[in-house]
Amino acid sequence: MVSPCVLKSSGAGVQTLETEVLIIGGGVTGAGIMRDLALRGIQTLLVDKQDLCAGASGGNHGLLHSGGRYVSNDQHAAIECRIENEILKRLAPQCVEETGGLFVAVKGDDMAFADTFPGLCQTAGIQVEELSPAEALAVEPHLSKDLIKAYRVPDATIDPFRLALENVAHARAFNDSVYQPHTQIVGFITKNGLITEAVCRNNKTNATIHIRAKQFVNAGGAWAMNIAQLAGCTDVHLSYSKGTLLISHDRMADHVVNRLRPPADGDILVPGGTVSVLGTTSIRTEELDSVIPTVAEIDRNVIEGSAMIPALATARYIRAFSRVRPLLQGAGAGDDREATRGFALLNHTTQGLENFCTITGGKLTTFRQMAQKTSDLVATRMGNTTGCQTKTIPLPKDDACRWTEPGAAPRYWYKENNPEDMILCECEMVPQSAIDEIIKCAPDTDEEMTLEAIALRSRAGKGPCQGSFCGIRIASYLYDCGYYQDETGLIHMKDFFNERFKGMRTVIWGQQAAQMELAEALHCGLLGLDTLDND
């Protein structure tokens, strides 16, 4: 096995790895299973075809539901959320900001719906407190003056990137479990009702890797059906819903603000450290891989969002993103937001496989419970009786994982007060030392971390310039350290700017148009990244 903190050449040809359990999919669920099994003494290898949180885990509001959102249509889900919300606040406080949440109705909203809300919350055991419009405006001054009803619930925010990183880091520290990015499953080798090996491709080097394991867990999220089919399983039935969200430059509200009405477009605004996340839209899609926001979705969110918070109409937006939610099929008609939030764990025994399971559906808030259920199955199959520990053992803080938290880097840097530790990302104030630590120690086993991989593990590139300056500064720093040594560094720059741009494309107006003109003049006009020959 590769040692996680050492960057080691993967070499050419076919490589075979061995592990007790192979977990496929580096979303929060996969990361959660990795930790859960580690705590039971089971060693795992977690792979992702891209990197941690590349799917829905990284493309959501970052909302730790109190359950309030589901009380009207799914009491069961509401209760699940309430329980998990309390557990995560207690055991993973470094990933959670206890913002509290508001449910607000404005003039024109259905009052009958609003009036049933507190009762439904109480049924689900969720604390709820009515605020007068004046009280609500006092705590959230940017709320609409047309506010007519407001309730406070224990919603919170959660950083899915840090959550995944910390889960992986804990598993790694606990029993040398390993995470390996850019590793895509291309097939399975089965024998006598058991999968013996997964055949994988390294998406960066195109090398083939065989992974032998006793148990195989498919935590592929939206890709779970495709992965299951590779193993010949036809019992996973998913349909897909595309959601689009956008990020404002400023934190527009301190609470999670939900529209008090049946779930619809642009009705949740969630603070994410120094920014706010507005969303979401919901449309059916068949496309899984290159989903990008459209102008129509952005405009829809802005229009709907400004009914709750009028300043959203004129705010500076720095980014938008889309992701695909897997919907368990047969979950009922109507809006895709409804009745599809449950998760499914399939043991595939009816498909003739005894050591393969698939976990999909669900939501960020209940990831731990999903991981627990899956790990229970895996452990039972392996004869391990230790039982789940994640309900009681706090998630430890890992230094190399702390950089995703907004404001953490500058606070650390300011306290250290070391003029030699220069800020490389000026927007989010990420210093050189953070980049050093990420490259050396953050979960990743790649030989050469890309700028995207560094950005995923920090706040670099998340501010108003969206990486246009820091991409250059970090690259030049890495060349300087001898970490990048040839033209691939330029490709990393180009890929990074292209990747950041995907999120900006639909929100380039106002100040952002000025920012982008400057960025493009620099990247293309001066550096000529539009003429690099790597396509």
Binding site: T294, I472, L527
Partner: protein, 427 residues
């Protein structure tokens, strides 16, 4: 409190202080047209110092060696391109006049040649440009001849790594090396190119730097530095440093905040008033109105209101970065007079999906329309006013970024706009 409003009368008022606005003032000065120039000066500080004419045709990946031939090709490729109506002779004359002016003021430039120069970028990539400042000229020459060269960079300077330049050029330039030194008296912490440039205006600093360079030069014949060779008299600083070290020296432009742009900005702010131009830098015009015999510009600076009456106005307010154009969620508009803006039908068409798509993005071709005499076209399809002219990258149908033509468009259109103003004033 009793205050006096300030009032000026001139023949020409130039709105905008980028390359186009400053070029217009220079051309007007040479034609002895009395001129006032107003406008936010910030964005000019981002220029690299290279003066591009045409480095790439939109949609092509390859670079252009001969911009003059390429301009001919432009006529087919982009029939409405603002450079199309301008003769090669005029473009050359415009560049000559502009660079001669800068040269007289302490920033000498190479003359516009018959082909593009292959210049260096801070990432170790190459860029085609028409004219380079004297302080940067030895770089392209050394690259062409593959002369033994050391790129010297500085502890504490972010975003510029000699090793990066070498890593990306060493295949083409095997004798290129990188060395790091400490800038004299700046031992710790972050240092900015601007600070170094100003420090190098002091003889003692130059002497100390020369010693440090000599210590790491090895067998190099040429030394490359980030652009820090002085702020207001770079040619002199470069010559001095060459004398002190015995090496030929050149600069490579750096990422913002960089010196070459600040140099130009400070040069214009220094020289224009001395030459009789009424310069009101760093202020935006709040209104522009016309009557039968003049145009009136109103603005306010720290000290109160200013009114300028002029016979003719050149609008050179730039694009989004400089504020000439505004992008809104609903569309693009021109910020001062609300002139009609030619633009993509909807916001979704502004950008391709891939940022570095070699075709370039449609948003950059948005802009205002002009007639043959460089008068902006108004709502009714006719010139907005006989006294109003326009120049620079606010004009539609060009993508200055992707075609590496920002200075070319600015200088050539300013030349023609001033010519049109001159004809109008003296008809």
């Amino acid at each position: 409190m009793i205050e006096e409003a300030r009032y000026f009368e001139t023949e020409l008022a130039v709105i905008g202080s980028g390359i186009a606005g400053c070029a217009a003032s220079i051309f007007a000065l040479n034609k002895k047209i009395t001129t006032a120039q107003v406008g936010n000066t910030g964005a000019v500080a981002y220029t690299t110092g290279y003066l591009d004419l045409l480095g790439k045709l939109e949609g092509d990946k390859g670079a252009i060696d001969n911009p003059w031939d390429a301009i001919t090709a432009l006529k087919d490729r982009c029939p409405d391109h603002p450079l199309n109506g301008i003769s090669a002779a005029d473009i050359r004359a415009a560049f000559n006049e502009f660079t001669a002016f800068l040269g007289e003021c302490g920033i000498a430039y190479s003359s516009p040649g018959d082909s593009n120069i292959t210049a260096l970028s801070p990432a170790g990539t190459l860029k085609k440009t028409l004219c380079v400042p004297a302080t940067m000229a030895a770089g392209p020459k050394a690259f062409a001849a593959k002369t033994a060269c050391v790129i010297v960079d500085f502890k504490g300077l972010k975003g510029f790594s000699g090793k990066q330049v070498v890593a990306n050029l060493h295949k083409q330039w095997p004798t290129l090396k990188a060395e790091r030194i400490v800038f004299p008296e700046m031992l710790s912490g972050e240092i900015y190119p601007e600070v170094m440039a100003r420090a190098l205006e002091v003889e003692k600093t130059r002497e100390a730097l020369a010693e440090s360079i000599k210590a790491v030069a090895g067998n190099a014949k040429v030394i490359g530095l980030p652009a820090v060779l002085g702020m207001h008299n770079p040619d002199f600083i470069k010559t001095e440093l060459e004398r002190l070290t015995g090496f030929e020296i050149f600069e490579i432009p750096t990422m913002p905040p960089s010196v070459p742009g600040i140099r130009l900005r400070e040069l214009f702010e220094q020289v224009f008033p001395e030459k009789g131009i009424i310069l009101i830098p760093q202020q935006k015009v709040s209104s522009l109105t016309f009557d039968d015999d003049s145009a009136t510009l109103s603005l306010t600076d720290n000290h109160g209101p200013i009114t300028i009456k002029a016979k003719a106005v050149i609008l050179a307010t730039g694009r989004f970065l400089s504020g000439g154009l505004e992008a809104h969620i609903t569309g693009i508009n021109e910020s001062l007079l609300n002139l009609p803006v030619t633009q993509p039908a909807k916001r979704d068409d502004w950008y391709f999906e891939q940022y570095t798509d070699s075709r370039g993005h449609a948003i950059h071709k948005a802009g205002i329309e002009i007639d043959d005499s460089f008068r902006p076209i108004g709502e009714d399809g006719r010139p907005y006013h006989e006294r109003l002219f326009a120049a620079g990258i606010i004009l539609a149908h060009q993508d200055w970024i992707r075609s590496r033509s920002g200075a070319g468009i600015a200088i050539a259109t300013a030349y023609k706009a001033v010519e049109a103003v001159d004809n109008f004033l003296h008809a």
